[in-house]
C-alpha cells in the first residue's frame, strides 16, 4: 500500500515531493540487498558458468584461460557416476519431501486436537529443527554405529537381532539411515507451518460441513485439506530453499560411501571439485545443480501464488 492515502489534504509541494520520492525510495532501500547478492551469489554463479567451459584444475592455475566450450558438459552426459548420483538425488528428494509432508501433516493434526499442554508440544516439535544438519548427521552416525550405536544395542538387548546390523556399511541400509536423518530433521518445518494453517482456519465451514452430514474424513478431504494447501506450498517453498543441506548429513555420515552407494549430486560436486581438483568439470555439475534448485523453487513459488489466488486471498 502506498503511504499517501489522503493526499488531497497535503500541500502541493509535499505531494510532488512524495510522488517523486516514492518512485526512488524502494530502489534505494533494496540496493544494499541487491549489491551483496550480486557480489556474493550472482558474480560467483557467472564465474562458475565460465569455469565450466574451461579444463580448470587448481594444480594448473593458467588452465582457467583455456576455453573448451561444452566439452565438460558433453563428458557429463557419458558419466555414469554423475547420472547415478543425479537419479539418486531425485529419488532421495522425492521420498524425503513426500514423507515429510505426510508426517508433518499427521503431527500437526494431532497437536491441533490437544488442548492441554499444547504450547509445550509446539516447543518440543521445534526441537529437531534447531539441530544443524551437521549435528543431525553426527547424531545418527553415533546412533546407527554398528558397534556402539544405541539402535543395535537396543535391538540386540530386546532380542530382535542376534548380531550387529551394519547400518552405515551396507549401501541400501546407509541410504535408509540418511533418509531417516533427513526426515527427522525437516518434518518439523512442515508440521509447524501446517499447524499455523490449522490455527488460522475459520471454524464455520467445518461446522457447516458437520451440519450437512459430512463424515470426519469428508470434511477433512474437502474443507481442511484445500485450506491447508497454500500452507503446504509455503512449507515446500521454505524446504526447497535448503534441500541441499542434505550434503552436510551425507558428508559426515557416510561421505558418499560405501563404494559411492550414498553419493548425492552435492557430495559428488565436492569430491570432483575439491578432492580431485577438477574444478572445470565440478563447476559444470554445480551450475546444473544450481539451475535445477532455482527452477524447483521458482515452480513452487508460482504454485504458491496460484494456490493463494484460488483461495481468493489478498494479492
Amino acid at each position: 500500500m502506498s503511504p499517501s492515502t489522503d493526499q488531497e489534504n497535503l500541500p502541493a509541494v509535499t505531494r510532488l515531493f512524495r510522488r517523486h520520492h516514492s518512485a526512488l525510495t524502494p530502489l534505494l532501500l533494496l540496493s544494499p540487498a541487491l549489491l551483496i547478492l550480486l557480489f556474493v551469489i550472482a558474480l560467483p554463479m557467472a564465474f562458475s558458468l565460465y569455469a565450466s567451459f574451461t579444463p580448470y584444475r587448481m594444480t594448473r592455475p593458467d588452465s582457467i584461460e583455456t576455453f573448451i566450450g561444452l566439452r565438460n558438459y558433453i563428458r557429463l552426459i557419458g558419466n555414469d557416476d554423475f547420472w547415478a548420483a543425479f537419479l539418486r538425488t531425485l529419488l532421495f528428494l522425492a521420498i524425503a519431501l513426500n514423507l515429510e509432508l505426510i508426517l508433518g501433516l499427521g503431527i500437526a493434526l494431532l497437536i491441533d486436537r490437544v488442548t492441554l499442554g499444547q504450547r509445550l508440544l509446539r516447543t518440543i516439535m521445534m526441537f529437531p529443527m534447531m539441530f544443524s544438519p551437521i549435528l543431525v548427521g553426527f547424531q545418527f552416525k553415533f546412533i546407527f554405529n554398528d558397534n556402539i550405536g544405541v539402535v543395535n544395542n537396543a535391538l540386540q538387548f530386546l532380542g530382535l537381532a542376534d548380531q550387529a546390523i551394519p547400518w552405515l556399511v551396507d549401501g541400501t541400509l546407509a541410504m535408509g539411515a540418511i533418509l531417516f536423518a533427513e526426515i527427522w530433521m525437516s518434518t518439523s518445518v512442515f508440521a509447524i507451518v501446517l499447524l499455523a494453517g490449522l490455527f488460522a482456519m475459520p471454524r464455520d465451514p467445518l461446522e457447516a460441513a458437520k451440519v450437512d452430514g459430512c463424515t470426519p474424513w469428508q470434511s477433512f478431504r474437502h474443507v481442511t485439506l484445500p485450506f491447508l494447501l497454500p500452507f503446504a506450498y509455503i512449507a515446500m517453498t521454505i524446504r526447497s530453499l535448503d534441500v541441499a543441506r542434505a550434503y552436510d548429513i551425507v558428508a559426515i555420515m557416510t561421505d558418499g560411501g560405501p563404494a559411492g552407494r550414498t553419493e548425492l549430486l552435492w557430495t559428488l560436486i565436492a569430491r570432483v571439485g575439491f578432492d580431485n581438483a577438477r574444478m572445470g568439470e565440478a563447476n559444470a555439475m554445480a551450475f546444473m545443480a544450481s539451475l535445477l534448485s532455482i527452477l524447483f523453487t521458482w515452480f513452487l513459488f508460482t504454485r504458491l501464488l496460484a494456490a493463494r489466488r484460488t483461495m481468493g486471498g489478498v494479492e
Binding site: S2, T5, I41, S48, M125, L135, F142, A244, A270, W298
Partner: protein, 285 residues
C-alpha cells in the same frame, strides 16, 4: 458416539499418544546429550550401559583444554570464530534485509512480485555449488580463511529470508500510524524508528535469530572457505574429531551440546513470532 467415558478415554489416548510420539522424536537428540556427560569407557561398554553411572562435565573440560588431558582441537577458538561470524553477519543482514522488507511492505513499484521472487531465488543456490566458484574467487581476493570472507557469504545467504520475514511484519503495522506521525512533524526516518520499528520488533527479532542460526549451523560453505583456527567455525571443528585415527565419540557429543544449546535457548524465546512471520509473510505477498 455415546456420552461420557469413551469420549474422554479417546481424548486421553490422543493426548498421551501425542506426547509419547513427540518424546520419541526427541530421543536421538537427548541420547547425544546424555552421552556428552558420560566417559568414553561407558559409551564403548559391552554390554551397553543405558543410564549414565558416572556422569561428569569432564568431556566439556577436556575439549576446552582444561584439566590435564591434552586435546589437539582448539574448541574455544572455534566457538569465538562462530560467535563473531554469526553475530556480525546477522546484524548486517538484518539492517540490509529490513530495508528491503520495508520496501516490499510499504511501496508500490513495477514488477514487485518478480523482484521478490528473484531475490528469493538467490537463496535457492545450493551451498556446495556456490562454494566452488567462491573458493576460487575468495582465494584471488584474499578472503579465504578470513572471518570477513565467511561474514560476506552469510550476509548474502540471510538477506533473502530476512526480507521475506520483515516484509510480513511491516505489513502488520498500519501505514496510517507512520503517516500520522509525519503529519505531526516527524521525518519519515524518525517515524520509522519511533513507530514502525518498535511495533515490528518481535518479528525483526525472529528474523535476526533465524539469520543467526543459519550462520551458526552452516557447514557446506564454511568447510571449504576456512582452513585454520583463523576462521574455522564450530560445525567445521566438529569434523576434526572424525579426522583423527579413532573417533572421539564423547568429545563429539560434548561439542554437539555446545553447538545446540545456544540455538535451543534462542529459539525458545521467539518461536511464536517465527511461525507467524513465515506464514503471514507468505500469505499476504
Amino acid at each position: 458416539m455415546k456420552l461420557g467415558s469413551p469420549v474422554h478415554l479417546r481424548g486421553f489416548a490422543t493426548w498421551s499418544g501425542t506426547f509419547l510420539l513427540m518424546g520419541v522424536i526427541c530421543l536421538p537428540g537427548i541420547w547425544v546429550m546424555i552421552s556428552a556427560i558420560r566417559p568414553t569407557r561407558e559409551i564403548l561398554a559391552r554390554p551397553p550401559i543405558w543410564w549414565p553411572e558416572d556422569p561428569s562435565w569432564a568431556n566439556f573440560a577436556r575439549i576446552f583444554g582444561l584439566g590435564d588431558t591434552l586435546v589437539g582441537i582448539p574448541v574455544h577458538t572455534y566457538f569465538w570464530n562462530s560467535l563473531v561470524v554469526s553475530l556480525t553477519s546477522t546484524i548486517v543482514a538484518l539492517v540490509i534485509g529490513m530495508a528491503g522488507g520495508y520496501a516490499f511492505a510499504r511501496y508500490r513499484f513495477r514488477f514487485k512480485n518478480a523482484w521478490f521472487l528473484g531475490l528469493m531465488l538467490f537463496r535457492a543456490v545450493p551451498g556446495i555449488a556456490l562454494s566452488l566458484p567462491l573458493f576460487i574467487l575468495w582465494s584471488w581476493f584474499g578472503l579465504i580463511d578470513t572471518p570477513l570472507g565467511l561474514i560476506l557469504v552469510y550476509v548474502a545467504l540471510n538477506v533473502p529470508f530476512t526480507i521475506w520475514l520483515t516484509d510480513g511484519f511491516f505489513r502488520l503495522v498500519p501505514p496510517s500510524l507512520s503517516e500520522a506521525a509525519q503529519m505531526d512533524g516527524c521525518t519519515p526516518w524518525q517515524a520509522f524508528w519511533k513507530i514502525e520499528f518498535p511495533l515490528a520488533r518481535p518479528g525483526i527479532a525472529a528474523a535476526g535469530i533465524f539469520a543467526f542460526l543459519t550462520s551458526w549451523n552452516e557447514f557446506a560453505l564454511a568447510s571449504h572457505l576456512t582452513r585454520s583456527t583463523d576462521s574455522k567455525t564450530l560445525p567445521v571443528g566438529l569434523m576434526d574429531f572424525t579426522a583423527q585415527f579413532t573417533i572421539d565419540w564423547a568429545g563429539m557429543c560434548a561439542m554437539a551440546v555446545i553447538i545446540i544449546v545456544p540455538t535451543l535457548i534462542l529459539t525458545f524465546f521467539v518461536q511464536k513470532h517465527l511461525i507467524s512471520g513465515l506464514t503471514l509473510g507468505a500469505m499476504k505477498g
